[in-house]
Amino acid sequence: METHHFHFKTRRHNYPQVVCANHRVTTSKSNVNPSVLRLHNYGNPTADLAKERAVSADETKRPSTGKFGRFGGKFVPETLISCLEQLEVVFHQVLQDPEFQEELSTALNDYVGRETPLYYAERLTAHYKAQNMGRGPDIYIKREDLAHCGAHKMNNALAQAMIAKRMGLTAVVAATGAGQHGVATASACAKLGLSCTIFMSAADMEKQPSNVDLMTLLGAKVEPVRPTAGSFKDATSDSIRDWTEKLGEVYYLAGTAVGPHPCPTMVREFQSVIGRETRRQAAEKWGGTPDAVVACVGSGSNALGIFHEFVRDPTVRLIGVEAAGFGLNTGKHAATLAAGEVGVYHGAMSYLLQDEEGQITCPHSVGVGMEYPGVAPELSFLKETGRMEFYSASDEEAVEAYRRVARLEGILPALEASHAFAYLEKLCPTMPDGAKIIISCSGRGEKDTETVFNYPIS
């Protein structure tokens, strides 16, 4: 059987040659100019939100390319292009529709439990100051773990389920890694009366059985991904395949800011409520902006959700923490931005983890939600422009952080979020006294207690 050969140029800013054996890949029809930064999404953050959206809607009257610099795009089969264009049109419609916005706003408040608090972590702060002669930054935690279903995933799942309903579709399909997005999608579908199918790899189902149970209880159908090995990336592929088969009946609910345009933009838009709230809360609490915002990066939705608001503030450091798994040099990790190269995966150009033959590698992390070999194209862009810093934390450091935050603050952070907390060990000694760090606690860690329980203590 003929093997597929994907060969990408990684250093020059040209479009790579893509050789595909089983379908014709095209970029979208619009004019593509990678050197022009199409930053209509990065409007003036202090402007009225509606105005900002009106502006971007104007600019996108014609179907856009969804490019972030050279990243992003719509590398998909022909069959999906019109579907994506239709989705984009509806997306812009709902952004403008006051009724939709009000319904979404009410649901976010009453159903999801927004706004989530910005919590001053007194004991965690004191812990780091004590290690540094009483000097160190003040640490604030953005409590996405308190959202309904226990993670930030709900912000996006709810909004997109509402879009599906508006489009007249009655069924939703989604892929999930750790299960958080699956649970959030199943929840939103139950609430809106949509039928729901979730694709999850068999290996992940074993690692997070509690989430599988939750989805089943919520009335969703959980499809194990064949073959039995595999992970989130395969679940995503399967669900996109399913979507392609049932276009017009089924809505594909992207859980994170990857995939073909408009998925990354949509997900980011719906998650950006996190950052907006954070800005207001920071202003309330100390009358300013944070000095650093730290978030874990799996595929990037929670990071983008909190970063997006601050991209235009040069004084705010944006710090992403990826999963170093067993270590960056072991090959068993998920640190895409640190160790990856540029290529096309799941319909978008972005950094991704590939071997010498251009095959996607299987990532590893103790935080299942971090195990994605790609990353949001928008984050790739932020990396390349130097706007964002990125580091990584190993499995061991993440588990240690889980225990530390539990002991000091009585909060069990999801193992994914624990990667961000782990990075505080290195960050705090370098920050001046009284600097403000906001760390995104993207989910709660009850689901990970068993993993931490079984984790060998060194």
Binding site: Y111, T116, L118, L214, I411
Partner: protein, 477 residues
């Protein structure tokens, strides 16, 4: 339960059973007791010497807190049809004839100290501000009042008060936070609590971690085996979990052990009681820390529909989440208060926890209240599929509200609760705790009796992640 005091030795055999329920003294071999008292000394079969049992008109119990029995009775004779005028509780910690402080001498001082500390912080703006800040930023208040659109169509409008969205996933933390702040103010460095399935233990361990206090949780050895993950959670949070091997090695034995610890270490230690049961001032204190639920509801109701709720519904185990929702509305006679208990396998099976329906008045865990007891005055082991409702007693204030007719109490079986658990999960995408599911199940009987548009607020007291395995097993999903 060894805490019941002998003071209320019934002298009139014709009245309803008001005997102090005395469980047999703990076996001498309880080497797990760290108390400096031997268990023989805690034998409550002997009357306490300071008791002066005197019957008074209308009551077959006497109060050891005053020699002048008349003062203790006066309250019940006034015209008390206006709930706003009821003393809840009165100066002796009584709600009518319920409540009180049936405890060993050694604990009296601790309770009095606790009461005066609580009264001092009640109106202390600094304390209230600190408490408010933590409830907002740490716990995630205020919790939304969510319109559960799907089960409606016609019929009443159902709103869920989302206590499931609190940090740790239940209402319990409101009280845990309040008590730990109070303990800090009292200068206590050590916190103890007992736990059955682990929920209250985890909530206590959580707040102790947050405030850096030493935390010891007593848990029956049997329960520890069944709930290994919760035990691990408590340990992760820095608490010490001590297994109790005496008796049936379950909740009531853990409670005895915790009391023993408190009696021994009363100066340094605060005992976080998880519900509106126990000796005064606990029922009042725990209610006060939870009443934020009802206060928020009032404001949110006004915002949403410009009025008050017509009916409030909550599940009742010990009764804390119900009191939290009801408290602010007790004085509003046009608001119906409905509590839902656990009927387990059914009221006739003998395997249930429907205290207010099937129980009789007695003293348990330091308070007079309804409780499930057999003909010998021994506590009946209750049953409910939900651990939180599996309590043979109930808060004295609920007993009071029931007798006054101010609140109505019904019950729902395990099966009905499981059905409601599944129904609400599938209709709303909210997985309610099995405890809460009892209240949700009662809606099936309640809604057909209510006119269209009636505003019903149900306290969604906790989330059901902890119950998923149980439910899936029983529902065979």
């Amino acid at each position: 339960m060894a805490i019941a005091a002998a003071a209320a030795a019934a002298t009139s055999p014709t009245t309803a059973r008001t005997t102090a329920t005395l469980s047999p003294p703990p076996p001498i071999s309880s080497s797990s007791s760290s108390s400096s008292y031997s268990s023989a000394q805690l034998n409550f079969g002997l009357p306490i010497s300071t008791a002066r049992p005197r019957t008074t008109a209308g009551l077959s119990i006497s109060c050891t807190m005053t020699r002048d029995a008349a003062a203790a009775v006066a309250v019940t004779e006034k015209d008390d049809s206006d709930p706003a005028l009821w003393s809840r509780p009165d100066a002796f910690g009584r709600f009518g004839k319920f409540g009180g402080k049936y405890v060993p001498e050694t604990l009296m001082y601790a309770l009095t100290e606790l009461e005066s500390a609580f009264n001092s912080i009640r109106n202390d703006p600094d304390f209230q501000a600190e408490l408010g800040g933590i409830l907002k930023d740490y716990v995630g208040r205020e919790t939304p009042l969510y319109f559960a659109e799907r089960p409606n169509g016609e019929g009443p409008h159902i709103y869920l008060k989302r206590e499931d969205l609190n940090h740790t996933g239940a209402h319990k933390i409101n009280n845990a936070i309040g008590q730990v702040l109070l303990a800090k103010r009292l200068g206590k460095k050590r916190i103890i609590a007992e736990t059955g399935a682990g929920q209250h233990g985890v909530a206590t361990a959580t707040v102790c971690a947050r405030f850096g206090l030493e935390c010891i949780i007593y848990m029956g050895a049997q329960d520890m085996e069944r709930q290994a993950l919760n035990v691990f959670r408590m340990r992760l949070l820095g608490a010490e979990v001590r297994g109790v091997h005496s008796g049936t090695a379950t909740l009531k034995d853990a409670t005895s052990e915790a009391i023993r610890d408190w009696v021994t270490n009363v100066e340094s230690t605060h005992y976080i009681l998880g519900s509106v049961a126990g000796p005064h001032p606990y029922p009042m204190m725990v209610r006060e820390f939870h009443k934020v639920i009802g206060e928020e509801t009032r404001r949110q109701a006004m915002e949403k529909w410009g009025g008050k709720p017509d009916v409030l519904v909550a599940c009742v185990g010990g009764g804390s989440n119900a009191m939290g929702l009801f408290e602010d509305f007790v004085k509003d006679k046009d608001v119906r208060l409905i509590g839902v208990e656990a009927a387990g396998f059914g009221l006739d099976s003998g395997k249930h926890a429907a205290t207010l329906t099937k129980g009789e008045v007695g003293v348990l865990h330091g308070a007079m209240s309804y409780l499930l007891q057999d003909d010998d005055g021994q506590i009946i082991e209750p049953h409910s599929i939900s651990a939180g409702l599996d309590y043979p007693g109930v808060g004295p204030e609920h007993s009071f509200l029931k007798d006054k007719g101010r609140a109505e109490y019904y019950c729902v079986t395990d099966e009905e609760a499981l059905e409601a658990f599944k129904r609400v999960s599938r209709l709303e995408g909210i997985i309610p705790a099995l405890e809460t599911s009892h209240a949700l199940a009662y809606l099936e009987k309640l809604c057909p009796t209510l006119p269209d548009g009636t505003k019903v607020v149900l306290n969604c007291s906790g989330r059901g992640d902890k119950d998923v395995q149980t439910a899936i097993k029983y529902l065979k999903l």
